[in-house]
Every structure is written in structure tokens, then in C-alpha cells.
């Protein structure tokens, strides 16, 4: 993971403040604002299918960002992210059911999930690396079991109904309106994470990942940061899950399985570990991949190729295989993730034509 700083030359700052901004150039800032503005307009013309994909990318992206903070920034792999996502969903549904206004319920659910994440993060004080990863697998199974058991909380195997999102009595539950809700959380969540990573505790997280022994001797409390990473990651997962629950209106333990957890891992690895925007890029990739292969499959269905090769059902399997294959090929050609390629492209254009 050779992340070279590829900041272009000829880019001068006159104050430390200017040097510490999120956006390295004014252009980037303008670009980001424009992008958000453009996103705000999408509901006006995009179909609900497109919107729903974007909403999906939104809430999954928030959760993926949480996982990236844990895996990419603090260096602790988790194979149980889906249950924290689920916990957020259940918690928010539960709170809303008890009469808490939904927007507040979502935030509280995030905090509640944080607490749960902290508890399951406790082993991180002692356990490291893949051992820890498999310990999180235990969280996956134990919480899944808990969801089924805790009827008071999750409605048990029946699942729980999540109230629609309303703000000051205004119903925001249709795709077009819910889109803004998700967008809001995404923007806030991503900016928050960016800020976090450039301030004290974010740096400490990365330090712990890169060299925990020396980090400790630089005054960083290992136990605290290792555990807190789980807390933050769960917070994001919880918010993502809560947004999901109120989008669908229903939360069930089914689907919160290890496959889902692995998908989250896929998102951040493909997007780029330790990259905030990478989390979003990876989510886009993982959400669109099955859709894209679906379009391909339906285009093939009944086509000449299909007829000639007698594919029939084969197409559905080929589609799955294509998903697997794309992931494999992608990683072979871009093992450092989308964010890395993105950085290289940016560097290339800024320095063009003097690439070296």
C-alpha cells in the first residue's frame, strides 16, 4: 500500500490554515459543491430506480465508511459489520416505535450501536490482526442470534416495523424526498470523517495501525483507540442501518448474514482502504455491479448468443460468475483500490505533460 503523496508542485500556501484545508485546491472545493448541488437536483429528473440505487449507495456508503475507519484507518479487520448495521436498524425502529421522532431515533440508534460496538470491540485491547477479525465473526453470530431471541427489541423472527421518516410532521418517506435525508447524512458523515482523520484522534488511529509500539511510546493509549475504532465504526454502521430501516419500513434479521458483512469488506477494499472517498466509490461499485451484470444478462437473454450457445439458465449463473470475476479482475489490476487509481489520475493530469 504505497501511498505516495502526490501533491503537485507549484501549489503554494501562505498560511497553515490554508494548508490544512480538506480541499487541496479551490477547484476541488468548487467541484465538490457543484457535485452536491447536482445531486440535489437528481430527484427532479432521475427515475425512482436510479434514486433508489443512489439511496442504497448512500446508506450502505455511510456504513462502509464506518468499516473503512475501522479496517482502513485503524487496521483492524471486522467480519461482522452487517450486524452493527442491523443493530442500528432495529434500534431506530424500536425507538421510533416508542415514540421518539424518527430523525432523533436515527441519531440515537447510532449512539446505541456505538455502545454495542464498543463492547464487541473490547477484545481489540488484546487481540490483533486476523485473530481479531475472526473474533468479530463471533460478534456476527452472537448478535444474529441475539436479534432472533430479543423479541422485545427486534420483534424476534417476525421483524420490526420502522416508522416512516417525518420531520416536523412533514413526510419524507418517498424515494424523491428520502433521497435528501440520505444525502444529508452522507454529506455530514463524510465531512465528519474527513475532519476526524485530520485531527488528533484520527491521526492516533492511523498511528496505531502503522506502528502500534511506537504509537504507544508517543503517548497514544492503544487500548482506548483500538476499542474506540470499533465504536466509531459502529456509529456509522448504526446510522446506515437506521436509514435503511426507515427507508424500507421494516427490519428483519434475515439478510444480516456474514455474506452481507463480507460485501461491506468488498466495498472498502475495492474502494481503497484508508480512503474516505474510496468508501463511497467502493459502495458505488458493489451496488452497481450486480445491476450492471443484470442489464447485461437481460440484454443477452433471448439474444443470438443465448440461442446459439443454449445458455438459458446459464445466464443467471454467468451473471453471478461475472460478479465474482469482476471483483477478481478488478483487484488484479487495481489492488490498491479505486481511490488509489483516482489519486494517480489526478496527479497525472496535474503534472501533465511533465509526468515525472
Amino acid at each position: 500500500m504505497a501511498l505516495t503523496s502526490l501533491r503537485p508542485c507549484g501549489d503554494y500556501r501562505t498560511s497553515y490554515k490554508a494548508d490544512q484545508t480538506i480541499f487541496q485546491t479551490r477547484l476541488t472545493l468548487v467541484f465538490v459543491i457543484l457535485a452536491i448541488a447536482a445531486l440535489c437536483c437528481t430527484p427532479l429528473f432521475a427515475s425512482r430506480y436510479v434514486l433508489s440505487l443512489m439511496i442504497q449507495i448512500g446508506y450502505l456508503g455511510i456504513a462502509a465508511l464506518g468499516l473503512n475507519i475501522l479496517v482502513g484507518f485503524s487496521g483492524q479487520i471486522s467480519i461482522g459489520h452487517a450486524v452493527f448495521f442491523g443493530f442500528g436498524g432495529f434500534a431506530s425502529a424500536f425507538l421510533a416505535d416508542k415514540g421518539v421522532p424518527v430523525p432523533l431515533a436515527i441519531v440515537l440508534a447510532g449512539l446505541w450501536t456505538t455502545v454495542v460496538g464498543l463492547i464487541f470491540g473490547l477484545p481489540a485491547a488484546r487481540v490483533k490482526g486476523l485473530y481479531l477479525a475472526i473474533a468479530t465473526l463471533a460478534a456476527q453470530f452472537i448478535l444474529q442470534d441475539f436479534f432472533v431471541r430479543a423479541e422485545w427489541f427486534t420483534g424476534g423472527t417476525h421483524g420490526a416495523i420502522a416508522a416512516p421518516f417525518t420531520l416536523f410532521g412533514y413526510d419524507l418517506s418517498g424515494d424523491a424526498r428520502y433521497f435528501y435525508v440520505v444525502l444529508f447524512f452522507v454529506v455530514v458523515g463524510y465531512i465528519g470523517a474527513t475532519n476526524l482523520m485530520r485531527s488528533r484522534d484520527g491521526r492516533a488511529l492511523i498511528a496505531v495501525r502503522d506502528h502500534y509500539l511506537s504509537a504507544e511510546m508517543m503517548g497514544v493509549n492503544l487500548t482506548k483507540y483500538r476499542t474506540m475504532a470499533f465504536g466509531i465504526s459502529s456509529f456509522y454502521a448504526g446510522i446506515g442501518g437506521a436509514l435503511y430501516a426507515h427507508y424500507v419500513g421494516f427490519m428483519s434479521v434475515e439478510g444480516l448474514d456474514i455474506l452481507f458483512s463480507i460485501q461491506f469488506l468488498g466495498m472498502i477494499i475495492i474502494g481503497g482502504l484508508g480512503s474516505i472517498m474510496g468508501s463511497l466509490m467502493g459502495t458505488v461499485f458493489m451496488v452497481l455491479l450486480p445491476e450492471a451484470t443484470g442489464w447485461l444478462a437481460s440484454a443477452l437473454q433471448g439474444s443470438a448468443i443465448d440461442q446459439a450457445l443454449h445458455l438459458k439458465d446459464g445466464i443467471t449463473y454467468m451473471r453471478e460468475m461475472l460478479i465474482g470475476l469482476t471483483i477478481i479482475l478488478f483487484l488484479i489490476f487495481e489492488p490498491d483500490g479505486l481511490a488509489h487509481r483516482w489519486r494517480l489520475i489526478k496527479a497525472y493530469w496535474k503534472l501533465y505533460p511533465f509526468s515525472y
Partner: protein, 297 residues
């Protein structure tokens, strides 16, 4: 009555535990050579089982030969997978390689469904006696076979890593591919070998499970089931994988006992290994036999 049940559960736990141990060793093998946790391990089991099944049913080959061919095929298959997919990733971040194994798992899962259908298929009867009585417990002959084969494989592995030149090379590769290469170790060869052996051994386990339960895609779930066993024993310890397997096998069975007799929780069987896992890791962060990281500055 109850103690009889307990006894039978313990025996069953040990027998299933060896099977977990074998699959666990396949993980350990790949981990030791490359620090990669292979999420496609379950699919290796599956492909091995389907291959053997196909040889037996479509070609009417006697079991012994079919089994042997399947194992050899899987060896070649493992090497091929390594060459095509993992070789380009040598030197890349481990986590990316792990993700690739997840991609492989998705790919082969679908491919197997396409080739062999979605229904579970039974193996033709293989052993003249389908079950054997051990201390009152009826045990499938296939499980006994697997126990025997497993013990042999375990002994082989233990020797391999301790004494052979290649075993050393594998450990060096796992430590750092760069260093290994600087010593003249061909990382490609080491990987090819570990994947080949791992796939071949998985095939053994796959066939056994296939004989007992029929072959179906769901068989690949075994790959994940074995995680706690591997971690309990210590990710890089062959012996640990075996012990871990036995512990998980026993825990499951004892969990079922405690659950059915006293707790009445419902699925202690499934999750008790995970509770045990957390407890053991808190006491021994590197599993029972895993080597600790060197913490020196």
C-alpha cells in the same frame, strides 16, 4: 441414559472435530505460506466433492480411483487457480488477496451450480457397511475413513513444516515475500505448492462430507464453519488447527447437550464455539498454539 448420551456426543464431537481439523489445516497451509485467509476454501471442498461424485456416477469409476483422481485433480486445480488469479497479486496488499478469494468463492459457487445443478445429489453407496458402532454410537463409515486419512495428513503436515526445506521456505514467504525472494525462494512456487496441497486436502474433506450429506452447493459453508477452529488453535499452527477442530467439535456437541438438558436456549450448538472463541482469545490472544508476533523495537 443421560451419561450414555453425553458419551455418544463426545465421541461424535471427536470424530467431527477431526474433520474440522483437516479443513482447518488447509487454511493454515495457505495462511502459513502467504498470510492469506482463503475464503474460497469451502468452494474447494465443493469442487472436490463434485468432481469425485461426477467420476463415480457418470463414469462408474470405483470409489478408490475416483477419489484418487479427484484429489489429484484438485491439486492441479489449486495450482492453476494460484497461477491464474493469485500470481499477479504477489507483492500486493494481503487484504486485496483475501478479497480476491471472496471473488473466487462467488465465481465457483455459481459455476458449480451451473455445471451440476442446484439440487443435492447423493453419492452412490460406497462402503459395504454404512455405519459402525462405536461405544453405542452409530458412526458413518465415511467419517471413520476421514478420521483415518486426517490423522495421516496431520502427521505429514507437522513434519513438513518442521523439517523440510520447502516448509521453511513457506514460512519465510509468509513472513515477507520480499525477504523470501531476496533469499532465492520462488514465491510463485511456494504459493503454487500451498494452494495445490490445500485444494487437494480440501477435496478429501469435501468427499467425506459429500458422502454423508450428499453434494450440494451449501457444502461450501463448511469453509466458514471452520474459522473458529483455526483461530482457537492458532492461525499458523497445524497442530493447533487439529486441536482447534477437536475443541470445536466437542464444544458443539457438549453445547447441544447442555442446551437440551438445562439451558433450553435453542441454538447453543451453533454459537457456543464463538463464545468459546472470544473467551480463549481474551486469555490467549494468539490462540492456543499460534506464534505470538514479535514485539520488539
Amino acid at each position: 441414559m443421560q451419561s450414555q448420551l453425553l458419551l455418544q456426543l463426545i465421541i461424535n464431537g471427536l470424530i467431527i472435530g477431526t474433520l474440522y481439523g483437516v479443513v482447518g489445516m488447509c487454511f493454515v497451509l495457505i495462511y502459513k505460506a502467504s498470510q492469506v485467509v482463503n475464503f474460497a476454501q469451502g468452494e474447494f471442498l465443493l469442487i472436490g466433492a463434485w468432481t469425485c461424485w461426477w467420476l463415480l456416477t457418470a463414469w462408474n469409476i470405483p470409489f478408490f480411483w475416483g477419489f484418487l483422481i479427484a484429489v489429484c485433480f484438485m491439486m492441479v486445480f489449486g495450482i492453476a487457480v494460484q497461477m491464474i488469479v493469485l500470481r499477479p497479486l504477489i507483492g500486493e496488499p494481503i487484504i486485496s488477496v483475501i478479497m480476491v478469494t471472496i471473488g473466487l468463492s462467488i465465481f465457483f459457487q455459481a459455476l458449480m451450480k451451473w455445471m451440476f445443478g442446484t439440487f443435492a445429489q447423493p453419492f452412490p453407496p460406497i462402503f459395504p457397511v454404512a455405519q459402525v458402532n462405536i461405544l453405542g454410537l452409530q458412526v458413518q463409515t465415511a467419517y471413520l475413513m476421514s478420521t483415518g486419512v486426517s490423522l495421516a495428513i496431520m502427521a505429514g503436515f507437522a513434519w513438513f513444516f518442521k523439517y523440510s526445506r520447502l516448509g521453511l521456505a513457506m514460512r519465510a514467504t509468509a513472513f515477507s515475500q520480499q525477504v523470501a525472494q531476496s533469499l532465492g525462494i520462488s514465491v510463485r512456487q511456494v504459493f503454487a505448492l500451498s494452494w495445490g496441497i490445500s485444494a487437494a486436502v480440501s477435496a478429501v474433506a469435501g468427499v467425506v462430507v459429500g458422502i454423508v450429506n450428499g453434494v450440494s452447493s451449501a457444502l461450501s459453508y463448511f469453509g466458514i464453519k471452520v474459522f473458529p477452529a483455526v483461530i482457537l488453535g492458532g492461525l499458523d499452527s497445524v497442530f493447533g488447527a487439529v486441536v482447534g477442530g477437536l475443541i470445536v467439535g466437542l464444544l458443539e456437541n457438549l453445547g447441544q447437550y447442555v442446551d437440551s438438558q438445562y439451558l433450553k436456549w435453542g441454538n447453543l450448538y451453533e454459537i457456543i464455539p464463538f463464545y468459546a472463541l472470544i473467551i480463549i482469545l481474551m486469555i490467549k490472544p494468539y490462540g492456543l498454539f499460534g506464534t505470538r508476533d514479535i514485539e520488539r523495537v
